[in-house]
């Protein structure tokens, strides 16, 4: 047989095969819609969880920095428990135990669960950020007659947040990927959609690679946006007008 012909045959059969797989995985029964909807679920859960995480993280960080022992203990126990158990266990406990008899959308419960989880890690980042600001800043604020809360809000936190911004971005990226376990409570996010297509078609390659690509692109876009914000935050660092 002519070797050229062999190659050609092989290529065209490979192409036909790929094409066939692609159609079965994504076009048949409009399966691509599962993935598109999954993106929405992942984004929704991640964003709301991020918000909860920041709020909880801030509160827990304040607890950890408190002068009062019982308040510090609250923060300590919280971080200890959350960091000491798997997030999938926490998610399931919150869905099947805590919210078992309460009728709220699944995605919102997932967002709460991930917010609670993320809060423990965010609190440590915020605490480190606050401690990184020289105590003289607090003293300067207080010496002007500002209260401790005002000093924290207007002087310490803005500087701390700028310093910890990269670490917070990191946490947000981890959070997005962490939400890939929401399938455990029956939510159809990107991961679950890919998994579903795999089971329905018995074709693992395409849906799983597609899942990976979608996550990658999402996070890439996010990174680009965050970089812009970080550059804006660095405005006061420019040494120009000496």
């Amino acid at each position: 047989m002519n070797p050229d012909l062999f190659l050609q045959l092989d290529f065209s059969s490979w192409y036909a095969n790929v094409r066939n797989q692609f159609i079965r995985c994504f076009i048949e029964n409009d399966r691509y819609k599962l993935l598109v909807n999954g993106i929405g679920v992942t984004i929704k859960v991640s964003l709301v969880a991020l918000l909860f995480g920041l709020i909880i993280g801030m509160i827990i960080a304040m607890c950890n920095l408190s002068k009062k022992k019982p308040i510090r203990a609250i923060g300590l126990v919280y971080t200890d428990i959350i960091r000491g158990t798997p997030s999938v266990t926490q998610l399931m406990i919150i869905y099947f135990v805590v919210f078992a008899s309460i009728n709220i959308s699944k995605w919102f419960i997932a967002a709460i669960a991930f917010g609670i989880n993320s809060g423990a890690y965010v609190s440590e980042i915020i605490r480190a950020g606050i401690l990184s600001i020289d105590h003289g800043q607090t003293e300067a604020g207080r010496s002007l007659g500002l209260g401790s809360f005002q000093t924290m809000r207007k002087i310490v936190l803005p500087q701390a947040l700028k310093n910890i911004f990269p670490a917070l971005c990191n946490e947000f990226i981890v959070l997005i990927k962490e939400t890939a376990i929401v399938g455990y409570i029956g939510l159809m996010d990107i991961q679950k959609a890919g998994d579903f297509i795999k089971s329905a078609t018995y074709l693992p390659f395409m849906p799983l690679i597609a899942t990976a690509i979608i996550y990658y692109v999402l996070i890439k876009l996010l990174n680009l946006g965050l970089k812009k914000i970080e550059n804006a935050l660095r405005k006061s660092d420019v040494r120009s007008t000496r």
Binding site: G136, G141, L144, G145, L146, Q150, D237
Partner: protein, 240 residues
Amino acid sequence: MIEVKNLKKHFGSNEVLKGINQHISKGEVVAIIGPSGSGKSTFLRCLNQLEETTEGEIYVDGELINTPKADINKIRRKMGMVFQQFNLFPHLSVKKNVTLAPVMLKTMTKEEADKRAIDLLKKVGLEDKAEAYPNSLSGGQKQRVAIARALAMDPEIMLFDEPTSALDPEMVGEVLDVIKELAESGMTMVIVTHEMGFAREVASRVLFIDQGVVMEEGTPSEIFENPKNERTKLFLSKVL
């Protein structure tokens, strides 16, 4: 104006201030000198309660301030403080550094505070730096901004904690000039300093603090030309 009675301060088992009695009247410029670790900065920081006191009483305008009942934030508005390390807010422009407290505490509207900030920056010779960020300033400029920031609250008393100790020698003069001008305007001031020439020139009274007590006090000429205490003599012989 400030009355200090038997002020004691411990850091753990270390007794830093061992009973200080002082009366500072309106318009006085008090310079505090003494060796490192003698407690002079601690004494100054007790006056606006940046350090909690262990024992004794501090009255400002007749009001006891070192008690949990005192509204310390309100009292601190009467007392501006300038730090050795400037402690400007690096995330805010020079003008914002000056206007932050008056605007937040609502002693002025934003427009009034802006106007006052420019006036104060003019006074310290930095009106052209209003929009600059602190990191772009030299040490002397930073400290002058810090003085303007403290003055923005219209304090009755100014506390200076070694205001020139972190400066390069060639920048000391510009800061001392501003402080001197302030003294001449009749501001009540307490200045912890290592600049003996300056203390001599500006102060109406000099305190020599060593080992947590006021060893000797008097007019600059009494202290510098005719010290009575042996420790004062020893100290001055080393620094003059």
